[in-house]
């Protein structure tokens, strides 16, 4: 373990902006992908179901 305290951990030896900027961006982008994937899946399913009912009418 190389961190004496949490504030030292967040400071990252003065490189906090760069390190957390990288990890933060990764987190945000991945969350966006997962959310849009789920939404897309739901929308596809609803759309296909609608098309199904139109076609059978």
């Amino acid at each position: 373990m190389q961190w004496a305290s949490w504030s030292e951990f967040w400071a990252m030896g003065g490189y906090g902006l760069y390190v957390w900027g990288s990890y933060g961006a990764a987190l945000i982008v991945i969350l966006i992908e997962i959310i849009s994937l789920r939404r897309g899946q739901r929308q596809t399913l609803q759309r296909l179901k609608r098309m199904k009912t139109w076609e059978s009418e």
Binding site: G13, G14, Y18, V29, E33, M51, K52
Partner: protein, 245 residues
């Protein structure tokens, strides 16, 4: 033996198989990420040259690897699809692209954040960086081509052609640090030399790379199921799923 059976059975079988595999890969990705982050921040030592700034590597290198690897897999499926006209291969290529684009973006973004403190510049137009930017543009270009062509089969073929032409860029990215004078450091891991980093750093990076693999597999399987269902909606099995049976 009637080959048509395989042709129609493949997407259905794969739809169900993918559904069963997704939770495993999703959980695997989550667990590997947790282990990888723990190693990255609490086990791996401070770098003697770069201090703590080097910790960007645990995101940067796996993202860069995945952006190239996913592209190669897309090119593989595109080639298979064009050669044998297998529908599922084109669907796989389509399902992989968005995740590949995400990793290509992350590799550039984290590269900029690492370049600034180490090189003093967010961006330089050198061979490695420029070819990585082209990779991102290729992903965007291929995806816009697909969305611009309404006919799925035609879109498949056009996208596959562009993917294959663009594949030449991947070896260019990979070897750019050897072929040209570049600011970017050489390969972290090579087949011929011992890794140029501490064992715990290497392990952390590899764990994060596996996490990225699992994540890419999980997301592309979710995506490919949507594509399969959409294209197979007129078949009996897809109708059954849509009717909630």
């Amino acid at each position: 033996m009637n080959l048509a059976i395989f042709k129609y059975a493949a997407p259905m079988t794969f739809y169900r198989l993918a559904g069963r595999m997704i939770p495993w890969f999703a959980w695997g990705a989550g667990i590997l990420t947790a282990i990888g982050l723990y190693i990255a921040f609490f086990v791996a030592p401070t770098d003697f040259q770069q201090g703590e700034a080097y910790r960007v590597i645990f995101i940067h290198v796996p993202a860069a690897w995945m952006s190239m690897f996913i592209y190669l897999v897309m090119a593989f499926w595109s080639a298979v699809g064009l050669a044998w006209n297998t529908r599922l291969s084109f669907m796989m290529a389509r399902a992989l692209a968005p995740t590949g684009m995400v990793f290509a973006f992350l590799s550039l973004w984290t590269g900029a954040l690492w370049g600034k403190p180490m090189w003093g510049a967010w961006w330089v137009w050198d061979a490695r960086l420029t070819s990585s930017l082209i990779l991102l543009f290729l992903y965007v270009g291929i995806m816009s081509l697909w969305s611009a062509i309404d006919d799925p089969r035609r879109g498949d073929r056009a996208g596959a052609l562009l993917t294959l032409v663009g594949a030449i860029n991947v070896p260019i990215i990979y070897f750019s640090v050897q072929w040209w004078n570049t600011l970017h450091q050489g390969a972290t891991i090579s087949m011929t030399k011992a890794p140029s980093m501490a064992a715990t750093m290497l392990i952390g990076m590899l764990v994060m790379a596996f996490a990225a693999w699992f994540y890419a597999i999980a997301t592309s399987l979710v995506r490919v199921r949507g594509i399969i269902l959409e294209r197979e909606r007129h078949t009996e099995w897809a109708a059954e799923i849509l009717e909630g049976k």
